[in-house]
């Protein structure tokens, strides 16, 4: 197992967070958030990866065969489901912002408050 997947995970987290901090558009901001989220997928899957391992399905192969870790794959799947819910909710909020206030710029919304 090489170190590159971990570096990629760190990179994705960093650029995503940078995007969240500097975003001027809620839609863009949520996409950046999903980039941050992608780093968790990469990290989890690389933790469970085994060189030359096969899929963790024991039908038709020896029970002693080398397989990748199914737990982290299950975690990743759950993560996808959970975060899809949050992103859907966030996008719903952004649609409402655009409909009701005519802007999806966080700064513009803050200015209207003052």
């Amino acid at each position: 197992m090489s170190v590159y997947p971990y570096l990629i995970a760190v990179w994705l987290f960093g650029v995503g967070l940078w995007g969240v901090i500097n975003s001027r558009n809620y839609l863009h901001l949520i996409m950046c958030l999903m980039v941050v989220q992608a780093s968790t997928y990469v990290l989890l899957l690389s933790i469970g990866y085994v060189n030359h391992g096969t899929a963790p399905i024991y039908q038709g192969i020896s029970t002693k065969a080398l397989v990748v870790d199914p737990i982290v794959q299950a975690l990743t799947l759950t993560d996808v489901v959970v975060e899809a819910t949050v992103v859907a909710l966030l996008l719903g909020l952004v649609v409402q912002a655009s409909k009701r206030f005519g802007s999806i710029d966080p700064d513009a919304i803050v200015r209207m408050r003052d």
Binding site: L17, V20, T40, V72, L75, T78, L93, V94, F101, V110
Partner: protein, 605 residues
Amino acid sequence: MSQLAPLAVAVPLVVAAVLGIGHAVLGRIVADIVAVLTAALTLVMTILLLIHVGPGYSVYWFGGWHPRAGVAIGVAFQVGAIGAGLAAFVSLLMVLALVYSTRFIGVQAPRYHMLMLTFMAGMVGFCLSGDLFNMFVLFELMSVSAVALIGYRIQQQSALEGALNFAVINMIGAFLFLIGIGLVYARTGALNLAQIGATLAHAGNDRVIVIAFTLIVSAFLIKAAVVPFHFWLSDAYAVALAPVCLLLAGAMSEIGLYGIARVYFSAFAPAIAPQGTSALRTILVAAGLITALGGAAMALVEDHLKRMLAFVTISFVGVFLFGAGLLSEDGVAGTSIYVLGDGFAKALLFACVGILQNRLGAVGQRRLHGRGRPLCVIAASFFAGGLLISALPPFGPFLGKSMIDDAALKQGLDFVPPLLMIISALSGAAVLRAGARVFLGWGESHDEERDSADEETSAETEQLYDHTPAVMLIPTIALLAGAIGVGAWYGMADLATTAAHTFVDVSAYRAAVFGGARQLGAASSAAPAWFDYVYCAGAVVLAVLIAALGLFSRRIGAAAERLVRAAHVGMEPIRRLHTGRVGDYAAALALGVGILAALMTLTLG
């Protein structure tokens, strides 16, 4: 009896789903009754669980996946008295909040009820879970429901902004949590807290474990809103409906702190203790005290009542983090009593503000100036809440505070009791001064000054009540009774000490999970000493004095006026940091995680 634990989570979720299916035919009354009954049933189940747990642990393995040969692979609910007690407290607050919201204006059945029930299920499940990944899922369930509840009045721009800020910041927190979980799993091959603890006891500490612990703790600190992760909280609490605030302020922040204590004592303590304990204690205690002081100071300069209470909440989160961060048995015991007593008191204050909104249609102190005069009962409750949170002896918050003081003295932190006295006094003063302005009409009135902050909540209540509905008044009085009752019965302190004794004992926890449970005895705590009474009475007197200074500075003299103005000018830069821009909050978050990671790797790794 251990089946009660999963049922306490499953029942509210199933009822929420049924309410969703039947939304077209269910009226508000049916939804109200069903929701209140479900919350009450959850309360009964969690109380039975608490009694059943006693001084030990109750373990439920999902699907019957018991540990084999001393290795736990299955997913489990592992319930101790602290977890069950917190779950029962959450359910009790939910019952009161749902009763309170039956006549609350602007609530739509049954969507609101569904969200409240899922919110409760998430919080209760988080308290009971003994599996790191399960904690993550329930943590997210809690966050998603909270986002929807905070943004409930979507027609208001500030509600939308509060919900978005909360969602984005908490989502980043969730990713940190997940990365931490992944790293722990990579090192230990386990997700069960007890199994992680058992593996770490053999393997010892290394840098990956420290980073994982830092990330998980950061996620909980974000949820608990500790400085500098706190920015989302005031935006969110200012716009949430008052009954939702009851739960947010009374329980959700505290649940984040529970998470820190839980993962430390059940899983990470074998790797970090004993050589890293004092370093970790210093970090947590310092973060707690900074948060407590900053929150209290911000509360004093805030006009919007809900925002002010939000900062009071932040201040108390800091005090709780300090108490739990002592990483000792008495610290945990004192914090759990304080969480109960103060949780009731803060919920009481939010309930009073909600009634004000329904009666008078405003939440700005200046706009409400003197208009609360006819509301005698609410006024009395509000002032009682203010005195209680400044730790009036011998009630709930006093008992918790004196236990934390004693725990701090035992660790040699002599400067802490006077400091906590000042912090309680500042929070109490903010509340008392607001009460005097609103209910008594004291201090200068600013009729010409219409506050912009006030606009955002004025539309929460379209048609106002000319009397307070009984269903809003009764939960308010019940919350007051709770805050008083926690301290009035001293047996509570012994129960909390017994619970804490089990909570911090990692080997007893492991024994309970893997079978061969050790017998755990009851423990008792010393009664508050004379100086505890002095400190807490001092806090109350100081709170009244500071409130009076704020109200009558012009009449007292030029020196007092200059002092008040200097305090406001001094706080202005800090106030300006709360920009409402989610990007700024994310930057503060990144900075906070960076500092925490640097400190932890340098001192623990």
